[in-house]
């Protein structure tokens, strides 16, 4: 899988209250959640992003609560992948489980706001098409690849457990 899109760059410790504030958690509607994505720290984010755009962030992206509404809101905005130096652990597993692609790499330092990025999941490479620089990332371990290939945890569960 290869994705290409425009970069929206964020800093370290972007938490789940930043991604989707708790006052909007009284619904499970994807569109509504997406419309408030990043609102507290980046008003109108959901209106400014386009399909396939890419979020790039620093350390500990998604720290805070266990709300799956956070990766759902991001995915609902049309974001194709989140690239960060590191992810908080619950966000990491939620993203894998719902099928939001995420990439962990220090190449983040070589990416700026509005750059165009190409991420190749098959080769584990990332190209900054704006600057021409290239980087690598470590692919998911086999166990997680299985889940991601199935399209998320529940599809994997269907194949394995639900007859």
């Amino acid at each position: 899988m290869i994705v290409k899109g425009k970069v929206w760059k964020f800093g370290d410790h972007i938490n789940t209250d930043d991604i989707i504030a708790a006052r909007y958690l009284n619904t499970t509607d994807v569109k509504e959640l997406a419309s408030h994505c990043m609102e507290s720290i980046f008003p109108d984010f959901s209106r400014k992003v386009s399909i396939n755009d890419i979020i790039v962030a620093g350390e500990n992206f998604g720290c805070g609560s266990s709300r799956e509404h956070a990766p759902i809101a991001i995915k609902g905005c049309g974001i194709s992948v989140v690239v960060a130096k590191s992810f908080a652990r619950i966000f990491f597993r939620n993203a894998i489980n719902i099928g939001l692609p995420i990439v962990e790499t220090d190449f983040v330092d070589k990416i700026s706001q509005s750059d165009i990025l190409e991420v190749n999941f098959d080769t584990g490479t990332i190209v900054n098409l704006t600057t021409g620089e290239k980087g690598n990332f470590i692919k998911y371990p086999e166990f997680l690849q299985e889940i991601v290939k199935s399209g998320g945890l529940m599809s994997w569960a269907k194949e394995k457990y639900i007859k």
Partner: protein, 418 residues
């Protein structure tokens, strides 16, 4: 092996586990609340599942937006209630419900040696009784409700060793804030945090719950304290079950050992907008406050209310301050009435809320307006956490919060007691 590795090995049917290993483990208890539960139920139904794997191992706790704050939250709780009836799983109705991480241990549902998952990040609280307990997402809960299993990566363990006697007005909250300030909000990312040492051994259960509760604020996968006599006494007060006591081996491998002189810890206050911005309370004594919240899964237990009442007794809340007290469960509420604590609070001008997560996450029962400042015994002070994106939350223990309510600015409890 460490206590964490032993519990995981036992639940994965393995002789041993090692950090970095992926395992599929069986779960003893699966928890979801009114925010995360409906999503889990949607996934459960979408997958075509008809029955939960074991109705006695699933518990649904509507505690975040309850008593329901609006139509949408009422619909979400209705969904939870209907599912609970259909599947015959535990559901705590208004009148019985409390804040999940205070409620479950009190109901005797969490036991040493168990593997517990919950779609709530503060599920790590139950590590205080020697369980492996961690926060997960709604899809994880859906998967576990169907299969009784969870996928996990075995975490490396950081051992924290606390020595020395705690100073006056210093408790579990100060220990954990001090620790998070030392290692940072990602200082234990993906790691097990094992809290040990003579200081921990002499701590009452309530303080232990507070410490493990905030392991997630350092990025931890779980916080854990080896069970001992204090754990045993607590257990026998709530259940006939004993659980299984695990201990780390003498030669257990730790990624890191952090030694902390607990006698040097002073009452802490974490400034906006990260729990790691924690310093001695006196560093912030010029900060005026509009609201004080004493409650939450971190500090809404009976000993927290006792500590706050001791400060409030015979004094009045500052006229410019709203002070909100939230007993975490009905049992705690009733105990507080019996001990006369509620009288003390009302007399001093505090308002008492029913058990709810409410203001901690800016839900209801005390939401902040633009520019307002709160000091709270809660666990997070992120941007907009308690309301308006331009409001400010300081975190502290109950004595500091109550002293601040009386003075109208952040205060050391010494300022209002003799």
């Amino acid at each position: 092996m460490t206590i964490t590795e032993k519990i995981l090995a036992n639940h994965a049917g393995l002789k041993e586990t090692f950090p970095g290993q992926f395992i599929e483990a069986t779960v003893d208890l699966v928890l979801a609340n009114d925010i995360t539960g409906p999503l889990a139920i949607e996934e459960f139904e979408k997958a075509g599942a008809r029955q939960v794997f074991d109705s006695s191992k699933i518990v649904l706790v509507p505690d975040h937006f309850t008593p329901c704050k609006d139509i949408k939250s009422a619909e979400m709780v209705k969904r939870l209630r209907n599912f609970a009836k259909e599947q015959n799983v535990l559901f705590y109705e208004i009148g019985k419900v409390g804040i999940e991480h205070a409620l479950l241990p009190e109901q005797g549902l969490t036991l040493p040696g168990q593997l517990i998952i919950g779609a709530d990040s503060h599920t790590c609280t139950y590590g205080a009784i020697g369980a492996f307990s961690t926060g997960v997402g709604s899809t994880d809960v859906a998967f576990a409700m169907i299969t009784g299993k969870i996928w996990l990566k075995v975490p490396a363990t950081i051992k924290f060793v606390y020595t020395g006697k705690l100073a006056r007005f210093v408790g579990g909250k100060d220990i954990i804030l001090y620790t998070i300030a030392k290692i940072g909000v990602d200082g234990a990312r993906y790691r097990a945090m094992e809290f040990t040492g003579e200081t921990i051994k002499s701590l009452p259960m309530d303080d232990r719950f507070t410490i493990c509760n905030m392991a997630i604020e350092a990025g931890g996968k779980n916080g854990i304290i080896a069970p001992d006599q204090i754990t045993g006494e607590f257990l026998s007060s709530v259940t006939k079950e004993k659980g299984v006591f695990y201990y780390s081996d003498e030669d257990a491998k730790y990624e890191n050992v952090v030694e902390i002189d607990a006698s040097a810890i002073t009452p802490q206050v974490a400034a906006p907008h990260l729990p790691s911005n924690s310093k001695d309370v006196r560093e912030y004594s010029n900060v005026k406050v509009d609201q004080v919240v004493i409650g939450s899964c971190t500090n809404g237990r009976i000993s927290d209310l006792r500590k706050a009442a001791m400060i409030a007794k015979g004094k009045k809340v500052h006229p410019d301050v709203r002070a909100i007290i939230i007993p975490a469960t009905q049992r705690i509420y009733q105990q507080a009435i019996k001990e006369g604590l509620i009288d003390i609070f009302v007399e001093s001008g505090c308002v008492i809320s029913p058990p709810t997560c409410g203001p901690c996450l800016g839900g209801h029962m005390g939401v902040l307006g633009k520019g307002e400042v709160a000091i709270a015994t809660t666990n997070r002070n992120f941007i907009g956490r308690m309301g308006h994106p331009e409001s400010f939350v300081y975190l502290s223990n109950p004595e500091v919060a109550m002293a601040s309510a009386i003075k109208g600015r952040i205060s050391h409890p010494d300022e209002v007691t003799k």
